[in-house]
Amino acid sequence: MNSGTSSRLDGAGKAAALASSGEHTWVIVPAFNEGSRILRVLDELTTVVANVVVVDDGSTDDTGLNVLSRSVWLVTHPVNLGQGAAIQTGIDFALARGAAYIVTFDADGQHRVQDIAVLLSSLESTGADFALGSRFLGSTKGMPVSRRLLLKLAVVFTWVMSGVKLTDAHNGLRAMTGRGAASLQIRHNRMEHASEIIDQIKHSGLTYTEVPVQIRYNADTLAKGQRMSDAIRLALRILLRRVVR
């Protein structure tokens, strides 16, 4: 535990079992202007989990309307706050409804629902409070070189800033126990939350494990990815927050 524990399980089989046993498992899907992609993601998710909450982060397209056509919960931010804020809203919602396990899952279709069961099984088998998805432990294909470089830099940055050595510091697919989720208080509204979560895990003293997951890279899922300029801005904001609390 605590670093790079791999829990490669039969994802498809576990996913099927999850549909019946995951009564207290909630999947949080932060979404911003994902009207064209959200339905495909929700249709996949609702085959494996009963409780899904989409946090519409001030979308100006039809994301919210589309979400309401499926049997999932919709929580709407009236204005765009950022993915970190959306995840914290989803955590608050899920915990208020008695979630024992919480999974964060991106709305753009880059994550596979089969990996949810792998993450949850890892939590149960290792006793960890957080299972962090890692595309570098998994068999991710088609990752652009620039994205790989960016993510590796993020790993080094997180290591330097938090002292936590992960293989993938900015993966949106992660699972946590209710206790782990309750220990988080995400204050970085935007993309810095990924580093902040790792920081808070370390300071909470709770345990984590890294789990191999696969990311789907295609034109669709790469359309909204982070660029180098975003990463520099993100790093500056994290550094600034260390100075100004």
Binding site: V67, L68, V72, L74, H77
Partner: protein, 128 residues
């Protein structure tokens, strides 16, 4: 006295007087009012007597009065930027909390039971 000094020295003194009056009326805290009054009076003094600024600069080991003003301006600017960044962050957290609360109170379940509003009286909902 140059034209520049003739305009700016009274102007700075006037601002110092206005700040003092506002402080006495309670518009500014005593500490803040004192700092601003001293700052404006010092500015007026150093504009009226530039050689005094050079003396202070030499005493501090900087050499030129203009350099002293430059360093002071840069450090003050940074300090002000950090102060307002901190205020901005606190305000952002406040707004985020309000938006989150409103969002959670308006949660809806889609699908067959669409528009199933979660009532605001639901005591399980977090309040922050």
């Amino acid at each position: 006295m140059t034209l520049f000094q003739a305009i700016l020295v009274p102007a700075c003194v006037l601002v110092a007087v206005v700040v003092s009056v506002r402080t006495m009326r309670g518009s500014l805290s005593h500490w803040s009012g004192l700092c601003w009054t001293v700052t404006w009076l010092a500015t007026a003094f150093f504009i009226a007597a530039p050689s005094a600024l050079t003396t202070v600069a030499r005493w501090l080991g900087i050499g030129r009065g203009a350099d002293l003003v430059l360093y002071f301006a840069v450090l003050t600017g940074l300090g002000i930027a950090l102060y307002y960044y901190g205020r901005f962050r606190r305000l952002e957290e406040l707004v985020t909390g309000l938006i989150r609360r409103e969002a959670l109170e308006g949660a809806r379940l889609g699908g067959s039971s669409s528009a199933n509003e979660l009532h605001t009286s639901d005591s399980k909902l977090p309040r922050s």
